[in-house]
């Protein structure tokens, strides 16, 4: 019996989280990543900024990371990866996010495209894309959402029509992060009309520089250009770039949700702001109330991290902890927002987007302007809560 063993009558049994033990190699790896981050900080590339997996775009950094074997590191060595475990990858990315390192260029190729191509791709696709991903030389975007297709993803209207030797894609993808700077997007399109709207969807690898791909910026309220509308104006996609099974798109997309929803990026997006706060507090004497609020926040970060690691351990063991992942995403992303509000309360500071970049008022402004997105991206939290209650009721 261990603490994770729930009595068989417990309502929570279906969503048990396993005990987490990191492999011994993880300790060494963590030290190596910290040393690397220190070097990069010294050269001015790691700036301790919030939301660096969305906003920290630095292909040079991604390539240096790849040289260490830390991009696509869970991919097998025969495809250029490091053949490391999923938990080791977790250690690397949590270190980078906590430091506010610029990881957005390779983020999607590392988290989704690589594993997805490995699992569903043809041998030819694997040989072509995976070594480039692992070398930090091939960056991906996700082409899922559309104007009328957000939480209800199965309603996508982008169509792929059969041609003599491939497909012709027509439609517009929205909120496509990094499409203006990345190389490829994995696009979800309808290949067949079906009674069941989850059937007849397929995934394609689309070259974002191909003729007929028109990329239009969608500026965030901060003025930043991170997202785009990607217009696919009848582009030709060869058969060789259909990813996975024709009509299997829904299963492929939902199969990777646990990976997408439970990682450290779901609770660490604003962590660098807390580091900045502690730096500020070191200039003053700290009040008891400031200590209390800092401690409550730290306890919650600690606890959410343990849950997130629990999902990672379950994924590593080959399970599909979709309900647990939804739970981590709701708790974690709400915490990202709470952190911003609490930091503001602990040390009242007017946020200022024009203050010196990296100063506390500027980081506060940056985190605040990004904050409504935390509980939206990767599945709106209200929808996730439905997944959580369903996960318990089913049993």
């Amino acid at each position: 019996m261990s603490p994770s063993t729930l009595s068989p009558t417990s309502t929570l049994s279906p969503i048990a989280f396993p005990d987490v033990a990191l492999p011994e190699s993880a300790r060494r790896l963590r030290a190596e990543v910290r040393a690397f981050v220190d070097e990069e900080r010294a050269r001015g590339t790691v700036l301790g900024r919030p939301d660096s997996w969305l906003a920290g775009w630095d292909p040079g950094f991604s390539r240096r990371l790849a040289e260490r074997g830390w991009v696509g590191m869970a991919l097998p060595a025969e495809y250029g990866g490091a053949g490391r475990g999923f938990l080791e990858r977790y250690v690397v990315i949590e270190e980078l996010l906590a430091a506010g390192a610029p990881v957005s260029a390779h983020w999607v190729s590392d988290r989704q495209a690589g594993p997805s191509i490995l699992q569903h791709g043809t041998e030819e696709q694997r040989r072509f894309f995976l070594p480039r991903i692992a070398a930090g030389q091939c960056f991906f975007s996700i082409g899922m959402s559309e104007k009328n297709s957000g939480s209800d993803l199965a309603s996508v209207a982008t169509r792929a029509e059969r041609t003599a030797d491939g497909w012709q894609l027509t439609g517009t993808k929205m909120w496509t992060g990094g499409a203006h700077v990345n190389d490829y997007a994995i696009v979800l399109a309808r290949t067949e009309d079906a009674e069941d709207k989850h059937a007849g969807l397929s995934q394609f690898i689309v070259d974002l520089r191909a003729p007929g791909v028109r990329i239009e910026p969608i500026r965030l309220m901060s003025g930043e250009h991170r997202f785009n509308a990607v217009h696919l104006e009848g582009i030709d996609v060869p058969d060789g770039l259909l990813l996975g099974r024709r009509g299997g798109g829904w299963k492929q997309v939902t199969g990777e949700l646990a990976f997408e929803r439970s990682g450290p990026e779901r609770y660490l997006s604003t962590f660098p702001l807390l580091v900045s706060l502690l730096r500020e507090l070191e200039q003053h004497s700290t009040t008891a109330e400031q200590l209390t609020q800092t401690g409550v926040l730290t306890a919650r970060l600690h606890s959410v991290r343990q849950l997130s690691l629990g999902v990672a351990a379950a994924l590593d063991a080959g399970h599909s902890p979709d309900t647990q992942a939804a739970l981590v995403k709701d708790l974690g992303t709400r915490l990202e927002g709470t952190l911003v509000d609490t930091v503001r309360s602990i040390l009242p500071t007017p946020s200022d987007p024009h203050a010196t970049p990296g100063s506390h008022p500027e980081l506060l402004a940056f985190a605040l302007l990004h904050s409504p997105g935390y509980t939206l991206r990767g599945g709106t939290n209200e929808i996730l809560r439905g997944i959580i209650t369903r996960g318990l009721e089913r049993h």
Binding site: M1, S2, P3, S4, T5, L6, S7, T9, S10, T11, L12, I15, F17, D19, V20, A21, L22, R30, E94, A98, A99, F271, L274, V275, S276, L278, R279, E282, A288, L291, T292, Q293, T294, G295, V296, T298, A299, R300, L301, H302, S303, V304, R305, Q306, L307, L309, G310, Q324, L327, D330, L331, E382, L384, R385, G386, I388, T389, L392, E393
Partner: protein, 354 residues
């Protein structure tokens, strides 16, 4: 049909005729629970059980609102006695950590510098003062006390019959008794000089035990709430079919999972280690801080029945409201957790375990 299975050997108390006073007045229930081998009771784990096993048992005790100091005995009193090499008595045990007492040595050393009783020819103590709100004191065979003698921290034991006992209770009417000691002599064989570190380790052990109990009571809130929202029909459909209910219920589940995982993370750690300090301080902060939200949602989703003795929900929520204060509330532990933190140590602290 909610049957409140707590122990065996005494009648099972059903929610339909739940009587708090009768429940706790049943002294036999307490010893039975700690000694029973019946399949549906929470047995007191054996002395060689791992911390993880003990925590699992404590959580289960919290979930079933076991009317006995199971966690206090197994996770606090017994390990402390073992740590200092004192015999571990049979039966339910309790503890008092850092009470305000006046302690002198009973046989002052003639050569001592300072006032009489500041050191002794042996460690026999004379103790005066009150141990406040000792858990289950009336049922305990022995109370372990960690306090400060003139020589420094000491651990000693006493039996409740050596003290004047004033009964008290917490919100769940679990016994929290005051024990008044009037120049009580504690013979040297029952006294051990201990390090300040062990005194603090006792606080950590007690906080972790309490956190495990909270995790169990939180889990009971989930059990009862999911059962209720599934079974109860309004407007022609189960409550669980309403989006507004789903949203709240999910948060209840999440908060409970959060507490449980925080406790789980502390289980494999050596209670004396710096890693344990972080993990336990975080666990008790989280458990105490989450109690309010967990109890709030559980009650809100139960509706009126939940605030009565017709329904067992109060067994869990009254415990949550008391246990969050006991063995250090979230303010105490949050400050302890935050005090050593700096911009450079925050992340290394969070990644101490695993």
């Amino acid at each position: 049909m909610n049957t409140h299975t707590i122990d065996t050997g005494t009648p099972v108390i059903s929610a339909d005729n739940y009587d708090t006073a009768a429940f706790y007045a049943h002294a036999d229930a307490i010893t039975t629970v700690t000694n029973t081998t019946a399949p549906d009771a929470v047995a007191l784990p054996s002395e060689d059980a791992s911390t993880a096993e003990l925590l699992a048992a404590a959580r289960e005790a919290g979930r079933r609102a076991v009317p006995a100091p199971l966690a206090e005995t197994a996770l606090v009193a017994r390990p402390l006695l073992r740590r200092v090499g004192l015999p571990v008595p049979a039966g339910p045990l309790s503890y008092a950590i850092a009470p305000e007492l006046t302690i002198r040595y009973a046989r002052p050393a003639a050569s001592a510098v300072g006032s009489a009783g500041s050191s002794g020819v042996d460690d026999t103590l004379l103790v005066t003062g009150t141990l406040r709100r000792v858990p289950w004191a009336r049922a305990a065979t022995t109370v372990v006390v960690l306090a400060t003698a003139p020589s420094g921290p000491v651990l000693f034991t006493l039996t409740p019959d050596q003290a004047h006992l004033t009964p008290g209770g917490n919100l769940a009417e679990e016994p929290r008794d005051d024990l008044r000691l009037a120049t009580l002599e504690i013979p040297a064989p029952r006294v051990r000089r201990i390090s300040p570190e062990l005194l603090d380790e006792a606080r950590l052990r007690a906080a972790l035990a309490r956190s495990a109990l909270i995790a169990g009571a939180a889990e009971r809130c989930v059990d009862l709430t999911v059962a209720h929202t599934t079974a109860r029909t309004q407007f022609g459909r189960p409550l669980s079919g309403f989006q507004a209910v789903k949203q709240e219920e999910a948060r209840l589940i999440e908060e409970t999972a959060l507490v449980r995982t925080a406790v789980q993370a502390a289980a494999p750690l050596d209670p004396g280690s710096p890693a344990a300090h972080v993990a336990v301080a975080a666990a008790k902060t989280q458990a105490s801080a989450s109690a309010a939200e967990i109890a709030r949602i559980a009650h809100q989703l139960h509706g009126a029945i939940g605030i009565t003795q017709l329904n067992p929900l109060h067994l869990a929520t009254t415990r949550l409201w008391s246990w969050r204060d006991e063995d250090g509330d979230e303010t105490y532990w949050a400050r302890r957790l935050a005090r050593p933190l700096t911009a450079t140590t925050l992340w290394p602290t969070l990644t101490t375990t695993p």
